[in-house]
C-alpha cells in the first residue's frame, strides 16, 4: 500500500516559487558582471569575406570581442553520429545560412557599450541566393545550402539533411486488396515553444580555472559535454550549476551559440558574463518547432481495418540539421505506434532551407503525424459509414502487441482509453447530433448564417496518440545517490533538472516511499554537474522513468543497508523487519522497534565508520547497445509506450470563422500516475498548447524574416481561452517494491491526440475538413 506514490502531493518547489525566491538564470547578478550581446547576420545566405572588429574593441567599456575565428572551427550538432556528423559552428565560420546566424559576440560593462560595439563591427558579405521553401529547396537547381552526403539518397533531391526510410510487410498487396484508398496531404505550421523565461546564460571562469555556468536549459550533463567539446576544456573544469528553468518544451536542449560565447568571453576577460535574449530575438532567430508536410496514403478493408500505408514526411529543419533527423525517425514511430499497420512504406526527409534551425517541440513529430492520421481515419470512417470510435477500436494496438522494431507495447491500455473517453463524453450520440445539425455549404461562412439560429455550431472529435518513454541518447543513463543523515533523514543526489514538470517532487516521492519517510525528510540536491551524478536530462520523455528508477534503486540500496544494521540491533532476520515513519519494526512484534538514527549508528559502528550511502543506476533498453537507427528505424526504441485517446468539443461561429475549444477529455494510459496532480498539470498544459497549435499559433516568416516576433502578435492562448479539462486514468502498471517500475511518459504525448481531435471536431461542426494548421475555415481546405 503506497503512502506517497499515487497521491496528489503539492510540488515541493511550490513555496519558493510562490514567494519569488526561486532563482532563474536571469536572476543571477555577480560582481563585475559583463553584458554580452550577439551580432547576427542580416542576410539569409552569404559568404563572410571579412570581419573587422578593431573599432569595436576600442570602445570604452568593451572588454572582449570574439568571432568565428576564435572558435577553432569546432562544430556541434543535436545529434553527432557518423551518418549525421556535427554541422553547426558556435559562431559562423565562413558562411551564414540564415538571418540571425551568430557572427560575433561582445562583452561590455553595460548594454549601451555592448550595442555600440555591435554597431561598430564591420562584416563584409558576399550574398548568395537563398531558398526558403522546402519544395523549392529540394529541386535540382536550388541553391546549395549543404552538399548532399547521404549515400542512400536515391531521390534527385538537393539540400536533404536527413533521410529515414523504413518499410515492412507487403505494401503492394495491401493496396491491391484494399476496399478503399485515401490519399491526402496535411501541413503543419511553424510554431514555437514560447517559454516564459528567455534564453539566458551566465558564465564565470573563476580564478581557480573553473568555468561556472548557469544556463536555461534542459539537461546539465549534455550542456557540459557540448561546452567541453567546443571550448576544448576537460569536463572536470566545467560546472553547470543547478538553477530553476522557466519552461523549455524542447526548445532549450541544443548547445546554443550564446552559451559558448558567454563562456569564451568569460575565459578571455576573467569576469562573469551574462547574456539574456530579447523576446523578439527569440521569436526571430532561436529554434522553433518543426513545420512539416505529410503525404499519407492509407488502404483499408470494407470494415475499416488498416491494410497498409504509404507515408512521406517533408520536414523543414532550417539551415542546419538540428533535430530534424530525429524528428523524421520519430514520425515513423508515431505512425506505427497507436494502430496496427501490417504494411508500411515510409520515407521521411529533413530538408534544409535558409531559415533558423528548428528544434524539438513537445511531441516532436507526433502532433504533425497524428493530425494527419486521425483526420484521414475520420474521413475513411465517414466514407465507409463506420463510426469514429469503432474504427479506432478495430485498429488499436492491444496488450502485448509487437511493434515492427520488435519492441512490445506491454500493457497497452489504448482500447480502454478510447472506450472510456467515448463513454464519458457521450461521443457517439453527440457526434451524430452535430453532424445532422450542420448544413453543408460551399462557402462555409455564407451570409445566411447571420440570420438563422444555427450560427454557432457545436462539434465533437476524437484523436488517438502514443508516445515512447525515454530512449538512448547521451548520456543514456541516470544515476542517483541516497545518503542517510544521522537523524534518519536523507539526502538524495541526482543530476535531474526540474524544468517545470515537477521532477524534484516525483523523485522525492519515490525516495520517500521506498524508505517510509515523509516528503520533508528527503532533501534533494539536483541539477549540478559537480555535486550530482550523471542524469539523462529532462527531454525525450525519459526523466521520470530513467531517473525515477535510478533514485528508487539508490533508495533500495540504502534500505538494504539500514535494515541489515537494524537486523543486528534487533536481533532478528531482515525478512521480519518493516519500515515506517523513520522507525524499523519487527513485523510480527511491532512493539519492538528502533528509530532510523539507532540503526544508522549501528551501521556506522559495524562498518568501522562508513556511512550509509545507497547508489542506483538505471538506463532504458538495457539489452540494446545503442538506440534505434535514425537511418532505417531499426532497433529497439523504448522500454515503455504510453497511449491516450482525447476528445475535443468545439464551438464554431459560422459567421466569423472563430473556433472555441470548449472542453477536452483525456483518457490516458501513463502506466500509473506517481502524482496525479502533476499529471493533470501536464495534461492541462498540453491541451493548451495543442489548442494554440490548432487554431491560432503560427510564426509567420517571409524570406527568412519573422513578421510577428512578439507575444502580442504570436497568438498563444490566454486565460480567457482556457479549455475545461476532464481526466480519465487508465491504470496499466503498478508501483512495486523491489522491482523497477514501468511508468510511462506524461510530458509530451497529450498534445497530439487533442490536436487531431480539435480538427475532427471542427469537421463535425462545420463540414470543413482542415488539412492545414492553424485551422482557418475560411480558407480552401
Amino acid at each position: 500500500m503506497a503512502n506517497i506514490i499515487g497521491k496528489r502531493i503539492p510540488r515541493i518547489d511550490g513555496p519558493q516559487k510562490a514567494i519569488g525566491e526561486a532563482k532563474y538564470t536571469t536572476d543571477i547578478f555577480l560582481p563585475d558582471m559583463l553584458c554580452a550581446k550577439i551580432l547576427r547576420s542580416p542576410i539569409a545566405h552569404a559568404k563572410i569575406l571579412n570581419i573587422d572588429t578593431s573599432k569595436a574593441e576600442k570602445i570604452p567599456g568593451v572588454k572582449a570581442v570574439i568571432t568565428g575565428k576564435d572558435a577553432w572551427g569546432i562544430k556541434h550538432g543535436f545529434v553527432e553520429t557518423p551518418r549525421y556528423p556535427a554541422d553547426q559552428y558556435c559562431l559562423a565560420n565562413d558562411r551564414v545560412r540564415y538571418i540571425g546566424e551568430e557572427v560575433a559576440a561582445v562583452a561590455a560593462i553595460d548594454e549601451d557599450a555592448a550595442i555600440e560595439a555591435l554597431d561598430a563591427i564591420k562584416v563584409e558579405y558576399e550574398e548568395l541566393t537563398p531558398v526558403f521553401d522546402i519544395f523549392e529547396s529540394i529541386k535540382p537547381d536550388a541553391p546549395e545550402i549543404h552538399p548532399n552526403e547521404l549515400p542512400d539518397l536515391t531521390e534527385p533531391f538537393k539540400n536533404v539533411g536527413g533521410r529515414c526510410a523504413n518499410s515492412f510487410g507487403n505494401v503492394e498487396k495491401a493496396f491491391k486488396d484494399a476496399y478503399l484508398i485515401k490519399n491526402d496531404r496535411f501541413e503543419s505550421q511553424l510554431r514555437t515553444h514560447s517559454y516564459l523565461e528567455p534564453q539566458a546564460t551566465v558564465a564565470h571562469y573563476d580564478k581557480s580555472g573553473k568555468l561556472n555556468i548557469w544556463t536555461s536549459g534542459m539537461g546539465v550533463f549534455r550542456k557540459r559535454m557540448h561546452l567541453a567539446n567546443t571550448l576544448r576544456i576537460p569536463s572536470s573544469r566545467i560546472r553547470v550549476h543547478k538553477i530553476w528553468v522557466g519552461g523549455a518544451f524542447g526548445g532549450k536542449i541544443d548547445l546554443f551559440s550564446h552559451e559558448f560565447c558567454t563562456s569564451l568571453l568569460s575565459i578571455k576577460t576573467g569576469m562573469p558574463v551574462k547574456y539574456v535574449a530579447e523576446r523578439d530575438e527569440i521569436f526571430s532567430f532561436f529554434r522553433h518547432g518543426q513545420p512539416m508536410v505529410v503525404d499519407l496514403e492509407t488502404a483499408v478493408t470494407k470494415e475499416g481495418v488498416i491494410l497498409g500505408q504509404r507515408a512521406r514526411c517533408y520536414n523543414s529543419c532550417g539551415a542546419y540539421r538540428g533535430s530534424g533527423v530525429v524528428c523524421i525517425f520519430l514520425c515513423w514511430g508515431f505512425l506505427i505506434l497507436p494502430y496496427r499497420i501490417p504494411a508500411l512504406d515510409y520515407i521521411g526527409y529533413s530538408i534544409y532551407t535558409n531559415n533558423p534551425v528548428r528544434a524539438p517541440q513537445r511531441g516532436h513529430g507526433a502532433p504533425q503525424i497524428r493530425f494527419a492520421v486521425e483526420s484521414q481515419l475520420d474521413m475513411i470512417a465517414e466514407e465507409l459509414g463506420i463510426d469514429p470510435i469503432e474504427i479506432r477500436i478495430k485498429n488499436a494496438r492491444n496488450k502485448g502487441d509487437v511493434l515492427p522494431n520488435n519492441d512490445t507495447v506491454k500493457n497497452a491500455g489504448l482500447i480502454e482509453c478510447i472506450k472510456k473517453a467515448a463513454e464519458k463524453t457521450n461521443f457517439r450520440k453527440r457526434y451524430i447530433k452535430y453532424k445532422t445539425e450542420r448544413v453543408y455549404q460551399d462557402n462555409y461562412c455564407h451570409d445566411d448564417y447571420k440570420k438563422d439560429n444555427k450560427r454557432f455550431r457545436r462539434g465533437i472529435g476524437i484523436g488517438v496518440s502514443g508516445y515512447f518513454t525515454g530512449t538512448l541518447i547521451y548520456p543514456n543513463n541516470s544515476a542517483a545517490i541516497v545518503q542517510f543523515n544521522d537523524d534518519g533523514t536523507v539526502k538524495c543526489l541526482t543530476g535531474a533538472l526540474d524544468i517545470g514538470q515537477g521532477a524534484e517532487t516525483i523523485i522525492s516521492q519515490i525516495v520517500a516511499e521506498e524508505l517510509g519517510l515523509n516528503l520533508e525528510d528527503v532533501e534533494l540536491i539536483t541539477g549540478d554537474t559537480d555535486t550530482c551524478p550523471v542524469d539523462i536530462g529532462s527531454w525525450i520523455s525519459g526523466l521520470t522513468y530513467v531517473t525515477g528508477n535510478a533514485a528508487k534503486k539508490a533508495a533500495e540500496d540504502a534500505k538494504r543497508q539500514i535494515l541489515a544494521a537494524a537486523s543486528l540491533e534487533l536481533g532478528v532476520g531482515i525478512e521480519r523487519l518493516e519500515i515506517n515513519g523513520k522507525r524499523i519494526f519487527i513485523k510480527d512484534n511491532p512493539e519492538r522497534s528502533i528509530p532510523f538514527s539507532m540503526a544508522i549508528a549501528r551501521h556506522i559502528y559495524e562498518n568501522k565508520g562508513d556511512p550509509i550511502i545507497g547508489r542506483g543506476f538505471f538506463r532504458g533498453l538495457k539489452d540494446a547497445k545503442i538506440g534505434p537507427s535514425l537511418k532505417n528505424a531499426k532497433g529497439s526504441w523504448s522500454d515503455s509506450y504510453a497511449f491516450d485517446a482525447q476528445v475535443a468539443e468545439v464551438e464554431v461561429d459560422m459567421a466569423t470563422g472563430k473556433i472555441r475549444v470548449l472542453k477536452a477529455t483525456t483518457a490516458h494510459d501513463c502506466g500509473f500516475p506517481i502524482n496525479p496532480l502533476l499529471v493533470e498539470g501536464q495534461i492541462d498544459g498540453q491541451v493548451s498548447m495543442a489548442t494554440g497549435q490548432a487554431i491560432s499559433e503560427e510564426v509567420v516568416m517571409k524570406n527568412g524574416i519573422t513578421l510577428n516576433p512578439s507575444f502580442l502578435e504570436y497568438k498563444l492562448p490566454l486565460a480567457t481561452e482556457m479549455v475545461e479539462n476532464d481526466y480519465i486514468d487508465i491504470i496499466t502498471e503498478e508501483y512495486k517494491k523491489d522491482h523497477h517500475f514501468h511508468t510511462k511518459e506524461v510530458g509530451e504525448g497529450y498534445v497530439s491526440g487533442i490536436l487531431a481531435a480539435i480538427a475532427n471536431a471542427v469537421y463535425n461542426a462545420t463540414g470543413y475538413r482542415p488539412k492545414k494548421l492553424p485551422i482557418n475555415i475560411m480558407n480552401d481546405p
Partner: protein, 332 residues
C-alpha cells in the same frame, strides 16, 4: 533592451509644460500613461531627448457631468476610471465597451484616454526592434522611401488602431486643447490627418486637456465592436463604433465610425445619409453593412488578411446594428 537616454520632466502645471516644451525644442515628447510611448522608445522608433510627463499636473484626470448634462473626461483619466464611471451610468455605452477591451487589466490601470487617442499608427513592418530594422530597409515611416505593405506606394499605410476614438466620434465628442492662446475645441475626428506617417493634424504645443461628450438623447444607443484574433493586448484588426438615434421606428441619426483599417478612424457618411428618416429593416441593415465593406480598403500590414478584416467590418456593422436596435426595443 533598455530605454534610450532622455531627460524626464514632470511639470506641475500646463503653463510650465508649454514653457518646458518650447525650451526643449524639437526632440521633446509628451508622456501620459507611457504604455505605448515607452514601448516605441524601446524599439528605438523614437528617441526623444526630453520626455515631459503629464502625471503631476492636477485636474487633468477628472470625469464629471457638465452643466448641460454632458460629460467631461480629463485627458489623463486612466482607462480603469473610465470603465468604472461609464459602467455605472449606462449611457454612452460605446465608450464603456471600447475602453473595457483595451489591453489587459494592467494596461488599463496605467494607460490614459489621451494616450489611447494619440497612439501612433501601427504596421507589422514598422513596430519592430532595432535588430529587425537592421535587416529590412527603412520604409516611409522610418524615414525611408518604400512601403513594405504596398509595393511602389509613395504613402504610408500604417493603421490607426485606437479603440476609443471611434466611440467618441460617433457620440459627437469634442477634444479640448490647452494651447499658448488658451483653450481650443475641435471635433474628435478632426484630430486625425489620414497620413500613416504623421497621423495627427495637431500642433505640438496643443495639449489635449479633456474630451467633452454632449448630453445624450434618451433615444440614442451606441455600441462598439472589436475584431481581434485573441483577447488581452490585441489591438483591433477592425473595429466599429455605432450610435443610433431612433424614434417611433424611424432613424433620426445613425453614425458609424471604423477603426483598425486605415491610417485614421473612418466615418461612413453616406450610411448616415441613406438611413436618415428611414425604417431600419433587415435589408437596410444589410445595405449599411455592405456600404462599410465597400468603403474600406485595408492592406496586408497587420496580423490578419485584409479580406478577413473587411469581412469582419461588414459582420460587425450588421451585428452591432442588430444589437442597438434590440436595446431600443428593450426600452420601448
Amino acid at each position: 533592451m533598455r530605454l534610450p537616454q532622455f531627460q524626464f520632466h514632470s511639470p506641475k502645471s500646463l503653463n510650465n509644460l508649454l514653457k518646458l516644451q518650447e525650451k526643449s525644442g524639437e526632440n521633446a515628447i509628451i508622456m501620459a500613461g507611457g504604455t505605448e510611448l515607452l514601448n516605441r522608445m524601446k524599439l528605438r522608433l523614437i528617441e526623444p531627448e526630453h520626455v515631459i510627463s503629464l502625471s503631476n499636473i492636477k485636474g487633468l484626470n477628472r470625469i464629471f457631468f457638465t452643466k448641460d448634462k454632458g460629460i467631461e473626461i480629463g485627458s489623463t483619466s486612466k482607462l480603469t476610471q473610465i470603465v468604472s464611471f461609464f459602467e455605472k451610468i449606462g449611457s454612452y455605452r460605446a465608450i464603456y465597451e471600447s475602453t473595457l477591451h483595451v489591453g489587459s487589466q494592467q494596461i488599463r490601470n496605467m494607460a490614459t484616454i489621451g494616450g489611447n487617442i494619440f497612439q501612433d499608427t501601427r504596421c507589422m513592418f514598422y513596430n519592430r526592434s532595432r535588430e529587425w530594422q537592421k535587416i529590412v530597409p527603412p520604409c516611409h515611416k522610418r524615414k525611408g522611401n518604400i512601403c513594405h505593405a504596398v509595393k511602389n506606394s509613395r504613402r504610408c499605410f500604417a493603421v490607426y488602431q485606437g479603440d476609443i476614438a471611434p466611440a467618441l466620434i460617433v457620440l459627437m465628442a469634442k477634444a479640448v486643447f490647452y494651447t499658448p492662446d488658451g483653450f481650443q475645441e475641435l471635433p474628435v475626428e478632426e484630430i486625425f490627418s489620414g497620413d500613416g506617417n504623421k497621423p495627427f493634424a495637431i500642433e505640438k504645443n496643443h495639449i489635449l486637456f479633456s474630451l467633452r461628450l454632449p448630453p445624450v438623447n434618451k433615444n440614442l444607443f451606441s455600441t462598439y465592436k472589436k475584431y481581434r484574433i485573441k483577447g488581452g493586448l490585441d489591438f483591433p484588426l477592425a473595429g466599429v463604433a455605432i450610435a443610433l438615434q431612433k424614434e417611433g421606428g424611424i432613424v433620426i441619426s445613425l453614425r458609424l465610425c471604423l477603426t483598425g483599417i486605415a491610417p485614421k478612424p473612418i466615418m461612413i457618411a453616406h450610411a448616415e445619409k441613406t438611413t436618415q428618416g428611414e425604417r431600419l429593416n433587415e435589408s437596410l441593415i444589410e445595405k449599411v453593412a455592405q456600404m462599410a465593406y465597400d468603403f474600406v480598403h485595408p492592406v496586408a500590414n497587420l496580423e490578419d488578411s485584409p479580406e478577413k478584416r473587411r469581412f469582419m467590418i461588414r459582420q460587425m456593422v450588421y451585428d452591432g446594428l442588430k444589437e442597438v436596435i434590440k436595446k431600443h426595443e428593450g426600452n420601448g
